[in-house]
Symmetry: C2
Subunit: 143 residues, 2 copies
DNA sequence: TAAAACCTGTGAGCTACTCACAGGTCAAAG
DNA sequence: CTTTGACCTGTGAGTAGCTCACAGGTTTTA
């Protein structure tokens, strides 16, 4: 398989394949005749694995580590479980933060309905934003 | 005020102050004696405003635009309302995505409790991730 | 007076790609 | 058999919003 073939096989940009190769996640062999990279079924598996792991929030260094451990015939799975659980906690933190932000935003938007636009006078820049947090009732801030 | 003073006043890194200055969000004057930047109360207001706007998801170019319009004595607020509403929609999309991811992750974690670790054998790398989406029941995927 | 703490601008590093460029290779159409 | 178009190669830059490192100048403190 050449770059485009494996890229299509995993549904990614050929440049991503080249990038992953540079980063050491894929290890194609080389055709000495034309200097082209040659990827096999194992590379495709690794690439598909990498994309799934990326969806889960694993970083490229983490993925490379897992791939290397798998190569050394160690079992990477306990490590996966660990990173996975950490990542889950992070995702939940992100959700909570975004929900808080959304609440503040919707509250601010409704508060702004009653505020005039107000031309800046050299002292205030835009009342809508300068007072956005003060205009949000406490009750809306805590989820 | 020198860099460190305004940075402390807004609770940011001095390098961020320098960066915002380079980006044209702050316009300090210069002390010709020692070539130091001098920030005044207006700069501090602009910086605090910029940080609040950043929390709301405004980009630096957007913030600069608002600041410039305020300087020209135009009212930036209708523009703020627009960008704000777009940003709110984005935040809600992000929340939905993350919630979906969280559901898939928790479902996968509980499914993995019953799966052995499995040493890689040259065909599979880590069953936990390779089959993570297949192991998640449909019902868990749709919010 | 000497050391510590500040200031300056510039340039690189972070993430995970994506794209542009210049030049080499190959398959099929004319 | 040649040309055209689609592919391949590596390198370098761009993305956002900082953060940090560096080398050299200035001010404050002990």
């Amino acid at each position: 398989m050449k770059v485009k073939d494996i890229a299509i096989g995993a549904g990614v940009n050929p440049d991503t394949v080249r990038f992953y190769t540079r980063e050491g996640l894929l290890k194609p062999t080389r055709n000495p005749d034309n200097n082209y990279q040659h990827y096999d079924a194992e590379d495709l598996r690794r690439l598909r694995f990498a994309r799934k792991a990326r969806q889960l929030g694993f970083s490229l260094p983490e993925i490379r580590q897992i791939l290397e451990q798998a190569e050394d015939h160690h079992s990477p799975c306990p490590m996966v479980r660990d990173v996975f659980q950490q990542r889950l906690a992070e995702v939940e933190r992100e959700i909570a933060e975004l929900q808080q932000l959304r609440n503040r935003m919707t509250a601010a938007l409704s508060a702004w309905q009653d505020m005039p636009d107000g031309t800046p006078d050299g002292h205030t820049i835009c009342r809508l934003i300068e007072h956005w947090d003060e205009s949000v009732p406490e009750s809306a801030i805590e989820e």
